[in-house]
């Protein structure tokens, strides 16, 4: 079956440890995820969710976790019925130190083509990851609101 995939690579003036904290610390995620937060205890098999205004936006499970290097999440949208109907996608974060900067690759994939979920996240990831980069480099996000 054909896949739909979104890949975004960004280079950030930070360390893999700080980037890892930014991705996995619930309070920190609120700062760049437009008020939404990621919750999990970050262990393989543990539930994972994104909550905004006390409503569940996305849910899933931690499939793979390798501190400061790699995180794979089984991810389903819970907010929009047409996205939820597509079922589970898979989102992989890869972190790599290169000299004194850090490369982050986010790959979001689902086993359908076309996919409304991948279309939606293709618009969302550049905003979230632009914010994350600004926050780590300057202490402030670029976009305050969606």
């Amino acid at each position: 079956m054909a896949n739909s995939e979104f890949v975004y690579v960004t280079y950030i003036k930070t360390t893999p440890e700080k980037l890892w904290h930014a991705i996995t610390n619930t309070e920190f995620t609120k700062q760049y995820w437009f008020g939404a937060r990621c919750e999990s205890d970050w262990k393989v098999g543990s539930p994972w969710k994104i909550i905004s205004d006390e409503q569940l936006f996305d849910s899933g499970e931690i499939l793979e976790i390798n501190r400061s290097k790699r995180l794979v999440i089984k991810w389903q949208n819970e907010w929009k019925p047409e996205l939820k109907a597509e079922g589970y996608s898979r989102c992989t974060f890869e972190i790599e130190a290169i000299n004194n900067i850090t490369k982050l690759t986010v790959t979001h994939v689902i086993d359908k083509k076309p996919s409304k979920l991948i279309e939606a996240v293709s618009g969302g990831w550049p905003k979230i990851l632009s914010n994350l980069k600004s926050l780590l480099e300057t202490g402030q996000v670029a976009l305050e609101s969606k």
Binding site: N99, I101, K127, E137
Partner: protein, 151 residues
Amino acid sequence: MTTEFVYATYIKSTPAKVWEAITSQEFQRQYWGDGISADWNKKGSKWHKETSGACSIHGEVLESNPPKRLVITWVDAAENSTSKVTYEIEAIEDLVCLNVVHSGLEAGSNTAGKVAIGWPRVISCIKTLLETGKPLNTWAGLDMNHDKDAA
């Protein structure tokens, strides 16, 4: 079959400053990794970029509408292929969305592989440069084979 590479980024800056970062040689030298010879403000002007090895690129300015839109052709001398790059700059409240679309790439070609590796480096550096005043050395110690080997 052709394919395209699309990369959007949001920058805390103004359209005029983003335009300057894209078109001025002083800025370009800081994020292209190598010199670039171009006047991207003038339609019809020829440009070229020299990098080490066989990665020589040149082209022509097809459209230049400061500070909103720039379209250039992209000829990869190693493959003798011509593709097209469109920069779109859009102001959104107090920031800028920079959207780069590299279209007309032959799917699976070396050029398509190289630009997918290169654009995130170039654009990450432009964002850092505009937001912090300092370039991000995304090319140091790297060559185009680094990511290819890792993939």
